[in-house]
Structure formats: structure tokens, C-alpha cells
């Protein structure tokens, strides 16, 4: 079946089997370029290695029908290249040695990006529990989550400081 999506800001037309998952269409081709940041890890919506944004909300693309994305916007980490918040998160994960094998990192970053964007819009700063809750769908077998949470906490604190400075300037 024909599926039209806005992938990373560009309209794309996919030919996909009716039972295809969004993950398989994004990752396996034959559509080029393949979105290699979207990883296959469990296919049950548990590990989060395939997390992408569907209309700005995080989803596990392995348990979402490709057809479900018809007419919607799909964003992968490739589409957030250069986005200041994503860049800050990537830098923080790297600086905090929170990237080990890196297989879960893009999914984790998409989840954190969504959390911090939502918090910034709401004018809140996520605490440890909110960060862990946001990451609970991204299984990582390497880090024990200590350094990823520390990295996210650091970015959240920076955002809060920037927010305060902006409020002060007004």
C-alpha cells in the first residue's frame, strides 16, 4: 500500500506491506536512505532502540504500523541534526561517558529530547524520577543508566538556568 509521510520535514512516499511496521519501513529499505539510527532490538515495544517521534510524540516504531504514520510527521534523530537541544543532549551524553556500545543511544536521545522539550514548554525542570520515567522505555545493558541520567540532569539544569536568565531579562 502507498503511504505518504513527512519524514524529517520532507514528504516521502513509501510502498509498504499492509502489515509492515514503521520500524521496518524506516530501517530495512528498500526506500533510501535507510534511517540507521532507528535500531531493531526487541520488536515488542520494550527496548526503545527504535524510538522515533510521531507528530512530536515518542513511539516505539517496532509496534506502530507503517500505515498508521500515513499523513503524519515522523522524526528520527537524523532529522534533529543541528537542533540546538539535540546537539546539547548528544554532547552531554558523550561528555558524561554515557555512550558505551551506543546502540540504545539514539532512542534514548529521542526520549530525552521529547522530555526536555515538553518541560521547557511547560516551564518545568525534570527531576531524577521524571528523567528515569522518560528513559524507562529505553533499555540499556551497558551503563546502568547512571551516566545517561547524569547527562540529562546536566542539560535540564542548563535549560533551567537559561530559562531563568531569559525571564530575568524580560
Amino acid at each position: 500500500m502507498k503511504i505518504v509521510v513527512k519524514l524529517n520535514g520532507r514528504n516521502r512516499e513509501w510502498e509498504a506491506a499492509p502489515g509492515a511496521t514503521l520500524l521496518s519501513v524506516l530501517r530495512d529499505g528498500p526506500q533510501e536512505p535507510r534511517m540507521t539510527s532507528v535500531k531493531r532490538g526487541c520488536e515488542t515495544g520494550d527496548c526503545g532502540a527504535c524510538t522515533v517521534l510521531l507528530d512530536g510524540q515518542p513511539v516505539n516504531s517496532c509496534v506502530v504500523a507503517a500505515a498508521r504514520a500515513h499523513g503524519h510527521a515522523v522524526t528520527t534523530i537524523e532529522g534533529l541534526a543541528g537542533d540546538p537541544l539535540m546537539t546539547a543532549l548528544q554532547a552531554a551524553l558523550v561528555e558524561h561517558a554515557a555512550v558505551q556500545c551506543g546502540y540504545c543511544s539514539p532512542g534514548m536521545l529521542v526520549s530525552l529530547y521529547h522530555l526536555l522539550k515538553e518541560c521547557r514548554a511547560a516551564g518545568t525542570t525534570p527531576g531524577d524520577h521524571a528523567i528515569r520515567e522518560a528513559l524507562s522505555g529505553n533499555l540499556c545493558r551497558c551503563t546502568g543508566y547512571v551516566k545517561p541520567v547524569a547527562a540529562a540532569t546536566a542539560v535540564a539544569a542548563t535549560l533551567a538556568a537559561v530559562g531563568r536568565a531569559e525571564a530575568g531579562a524580560r
Binding site: 499492509p18 502489515g19 511496521t21 515495544g45 520494550d46 510521531l54 515518542p58 513511539v59 498508521r68 524507562s136
Partner: protein, 298 residues
Amino acid sequence: MWELKEYRIAGSIGEAVAMMRRGPGKGVYIAGGTDLFLFPPACDYVVDINHVGMSNIARTPDGDLFIGAAATLHDIATCPLVTGFAGGLVSAAAAHCGNRPVRTTATIGGNLCNALPSADLAPALLALDAVCYIADEDSQESLPLEEFFTGPRRTVLDGRLLVGIALSAASGGWRAAARRLTRSAEDIALVQVAVALEIDGDRVGAARIALGSVAPVPMRAMLAEALVEGELIANLDPDRLADAAAIAAGECEPIDDHRASAEYRREMVGVLTRRLLASVLAGSTDTSPGTDNEGGAA
């Protein structure tokens, strides 16, 4: 990869049911689809109901809460209409279901229509006397949620479409709390208990005790409820609550599986029911595992 022949997208409720009835072969409704991709059912086509206007959450003029079957678990977890209803019992249940990305697309309708004994929203909804609205091609009917489940993975639907769930305005004022017992933080529940009590001055009005993962279908422990319903609060001492809890444990029909034994599940129905009754009577609804209130006043 799921060997599916056709993905049908419905534009209205009537069209959805018509598409389902049309055949050939077997069809399944799909909204979020998360559960369907876990264990793809043998079917020839799916009918996507995301575009039929069933994702609304609203209060009716007389104060009832209506949740469309295609409302996502995330919306239910965060919508102020739900978080403010009966102590947020239903939104808390939604918030504990899966993980954040799953909750973006998974829906209340999917959770109920899959009819797993462990359906996460079922105990909370049963405890608030939820009513199901079901559409056929040219008719609609409603029935209590207790009558919706007919067995593991079986419902009354038979090709009809679950349109939504309604909770009466009265139940929105009930005091309620729930608890699910798991092996790890995010897990299929071993045991679920939801308790809702209508507090009417010095007396309990309606009392609901709903159980999940401990019977072929989510269920109410009505004999236990009867021990509490209409009672003077002063009479509901720890012994009485323990009696009610023991009766609830007797009412469930758990099985042994690789996650837990029937014996443990039954015992835990007793423990959790007793604690939840105590904490709800004491006015506390934060019963997350390992917290102060969770032990109950007993």
C-alpha cells in the same frame, strides 16, 4: 513481519463496522496497534479506527466522564478530566501501562478489547462501574464493563466496535486507590487490585473491589464488597477489613504460570485488598509500592 492482506482506514464509526463485516476472511480493529504487533493475530485485514473521532475525553453536561476507545494511554494519564476523577485512579492505571513511547499510541480500547486477564486499565475501570458503549453498523448499545469480558482474549464484541467508556459523575467523587504487583518496575502485573469507596459521612456507600491477573477475566470481588458496602466507617476495624480481604482472596480464580503461582496470587489479593481498603478509608491514595501509605492503616 505480519502477513496481512489489507489495511483499511475507516472514516466513521459506521464505516468501520461495515469494513469489519465486509470480509473476506477475518478482520481486527486497530488503533494504536501496539499489542497487535506483539502477537500478530491470524487475520486477513485490519480496520484502522484512528480517524473515526473516538479519541475524545469529555465530561458530559451531567458530569459523567466519557473516554473514547481510541484515546491514548498517554492522554488518559495526563488529561486533567481524568487525573481529577476519583482521585486519578484511571489515569494512574494508564500511567503504569507500558512505557512512555507505548503510551503515545496504545489506547484504552486496545487495552480492553485484547481482553488479557492482566489488562492494566480494567481493574480501575471496573472499580468505578464503567459502562461500555458498543456500536454496530446502525445501532448502539451499552453494557457494564463486567459483562464485556467473556474469557481470556474474548469479549462480547463479535465484530462490533467498542466506541468508548463512560464513568458516572457520582463515581468521580469516590475515594479510590490501586496497586499492581510486578517483578520489575515495568512488567506484566502479577496481581492487580483497585478499591473504590463512596464515603457518605460516617458511612461507606458504594464499595468496589476489582481484581486483575487473578482470573480468566478482570473481575470484581462482590462478596468482599458486600462486607464493606453501607457499613459505618467506625465498624470497619482492621479485623473487618482483613475479613473482606480474605473473602476477596477466596473469590479470585488465579492460575499457576511462569510468573507466579496461584497460591501467591491469591494471598496477594488478600494483602493488597486489606491494605488498599485501609488506606482509602484513611484518605490516602498514594499507594505506590514501598511508600509509607502503602502499608495501609491496618
